[in-house]
Symmetry: none
């Protein structure tokens, strides 16, 4: 009965909840750009005030970067820690937005009502689903459903430089029974999803140096070693075009096949492969031939070139053999792949293929983080899955995620906490892009979903 009262309260309060979210969206808390430092601070202040209003004893906590928002509420039952982030991505190219990214509004679209504005989905709208669920609970019951810790950061979109030091310094304060993270999307529209595995990440960058200086391609074309030709050959050698596999020796060490049962679940999870591919201009998947699109995205590692450059790229032409060529790569890691070991393998691959007279320079070591697999055998996962199924009237699924959210790994390694990733974003939310939006349905049913989950877990 009491859950119904909370859900009724949520429905009645939706308009006010949306207004509150709009307030937060109006604060341009772009964490990567120092020009918005004060705005990040204001967003943190806004959340501190909101949480204190709910009876959560909350403070802004200084870091070398943007502040953390940390709040505690006593209560019975399990101790849940909720994580979200209040910072947002930059908005460029601004010319592609159909309105001021920080003047949000409700819009009617073919896909339904949406909240349009930077951060609407990633992650202000998502984090507010949990806050609003707590607010409704408190309004109905006079207290929160259980012991709660809020842990909200302001540097997620700029690499979270303060996160690990802060977690380590405050490990006791941040202890709990399980962490809840609301920063992921649903596997398909209307299909409630719990992310049960995330890929890890390795970054690296190298430069190939040919001649000592840029050369004239008439004077040295022929005898001259061209680092652009060299880097093209080396990048091409990363891949086996027959199989679509990465051809770096030992690359797949630590990669495991997806269990049959999980594969079957994924096949029925509502993922719309055709829509996923055609929406960006593909007629077929381009990864490893032996695996399905979903496996390629969720369960297989990648070696991706994110930037490649050298020589002249201005208007017209320049007859140059450049001195240097550059390449930025990232790998997505799965299973037990070890970032440090993988870095060494990739570097050895490049070094072994270098021509006489070509020199190689690696960037200072860039970060790496292993893949995360959630502990879905914990009873909280099945309880949350049932709650989501009820709310969305559609079997909730455990799905993989192609992206990397290192926080889940940190909760485990630093705090010993399992994390449960539940989010209500859709693939077309345009996060990190112009015209970001969050479906009003995601916001509304997201709040209701958390109320049900809190009810199931308390």
């Amino acid at each position: 009965m009491s859950l119904d009262a909370v859900l009724t309260r949520i429905d009645a309060d939706l308009s006010a909840a949306t207004d509150r979210l709009m307030e937060l969206l109006r604060i341009p808390s772009i964490s990567t750009d120092p020009a918005f430092k004060r705005d990040c601070d204001r967003a943190a202040d806004w959340l501190v005030a909101e949480l204190n209003r709910l009876g959560v004893a909350t403070e802004k906590r200084a870091t070398p970067g943007h502040p953390m928002v940390v709040g505690h509420a006593e209560g019975d039952g399990p101790h849940l820690l909720f994580y979200g982030h209040y910072d947002v991505q930059p908005v460029d190219p601004l010319s592609l937005w159909d309105r001021d990214p920080f003047d949000p509004e409700l819009q009617d679209t073919r896909g339904g009502r949406v909240i349009r504005g930077r951060g609407a989905s990633d992650d202000k709208g998502q984090l507010m689903t949990f806050v609003e669920a707590c607010r409704a609970w408190k309004a109905v019951h006079g207290s929160l459903p259980c012991k709660l810790t809020f842990f909200l950061e302001g540097e997620e979109e700029s690499g979270s430089p303060s996160l690990v030091p802060f977690m380590k310094a405050h490990a006791d304060e941040l202890s709990a029974d399980i962490a809840l993270i609301c920063d992921t999307s649903m596997v398909s529209r209307g299909v409630p999803s719990i992310a049960s595995q995330l890929r890890g990440m390795l970054k690296d960058e190298f430069t190939i140096i040919g001649p000592r200086i840029d050369l004239h391609s008439g004077h040295y074309g022929g005898p001259g070693l061209n680092p652009l030709r060299e880097i093209a050959r080396i990048v091409a050698s990363f891949y086996d075009e027959e199989t679509g596999r990465v051809a770096v020796e030992g690359f797949y060490e630590g990669v495991h096949e997806v269990p049959e049962e999980q594969l079957r679940q994924w096949q029925n999870c509502g993922f719309d492969e055709a829509e996923y591919l055609t929406s960006v201009g593909y007629s077929r998947p381009h990864g490893e031939r032996a695996y399905s699109t979903l496996e390629q995205q969720w369960a297989r590692p990648t070696l991706e070139v994110n930037g490649l450059w050298g020589g002249y790229n201005g208007a017209g032409s320049k007859t140059v053999i450049p001195s240097e060529a550059h390449c930025k790569i990232t790998c997505r890691l799965v299973g037990d792949m070890d970032p440090d070991a993988l870095r060494a393998k990739i570097r050895a691959h490049v070094e072994a293929r270098l021509s006489t007279d070509a020199k190689l320079r690696w960037d200072k070591d860039l970060e790496g983080s292993p893949a995360s697999v959630m502990n879905i055998d914990r009873p909280e996962f099945e309880a949350a899955r049932r709650a989501l199924t009820e709310e969305w009237n559609r079997e909730a699924v455990f799905c993989g995620m192609g992206g990397s959210i290192p926080i889940a790994g940190y909760f485990k390694s630093i705090l010993g906490l399992d994390a449960m990733l539940i989010g209500f974003a859709n693939d077309d939310d345009a996060i990190h892009s112009p015209n970001e939006k969050y479906d009003l349905r995601s916001f509304h049913k997201g709040i209701r979903s958390w109320a049900r989950i809190l009810d199931a877990l308390r």
Copy 2:
């Protein structure tokens, strides 16, 4: 006697001549970049004023691009046409210059005094050797040595788009007995050289388009087609790494072997292979294994990548699968290679290797010009060779050139004019590169060389 007086005058006037060259070098006449359009105009104006001061009736002549400078001086004896160019290459990467490229100065180096600055060698310093020889002649004799036409262009470094139309439209005005071109280098330091064959040139540029928009490499890494991987594979496919040959089908059609006798001459022309290679950081030549360094440079064709870019190249990393990847190429042509036929072969090679879902866009057709072989049986060539031998106290040689000066071919095909290419640049002049310089000795003895050649030809 009168030649001695001219040479004496040249020696006495060297300091003033250097100052005049500095003035011209201060004008940043980068023809390929529209931002410098006014500066190209200023360089043309400067030359018009200089030539009029010598009694050459000179005008700036409009073209759709940068203006031509055309001047005529009446006189007895043969009618010589002198060609040079007043435009210069871009200066990037600016950070590698040890000073402002357009604030030239005299510097003492281990190799002697040099004039440092963009265009010092290519081609402002070289063209001024001829102008200063005329000035000294006029100062001593009160008139120029023979009938002269000056034809100076401002688009040589950006493909000379206006050159052919202008020559065709003004063929009568540009008629002469022979053309003199000062835009080449000496085969080795101190060895006076007449270029008897030049490679031709073909330019092209293509873009490979993968996804419709930039993608997140977590969300699409695996199934996503990455155009950077695609372009690396295609660039790598241009070459047969075993033999060092270009692997485009039919690429070598029209290429001829160098006759035995010419090869023997080249072997004795003073080319210092070790210096040529080690000065830029090479321990061996990197072209076709079956040919010598000189053949690779002068008599063999190339397919060179001059620019390759796509994705993120800023600080840090960005987990992007970019929508586009770009490649600029140039080929050097020899023998009877046909630029248009070659363009079609290269485009077919790329198109045939494109993956499903990758799209290809070629730049609007860029120019091409075949190789040139000079008519060294004309008596002016032997006369000039003797004059150069006298000035440099070293047997002058007929050599090949790796670069492309399409103008020589145009003089022949449009105006019916043979061209004689004599230049005083050195291989270490860093033309098209940071810290370009021209040896003061090249400038000084270059002026003296032209005085001797004019004396021999008049």
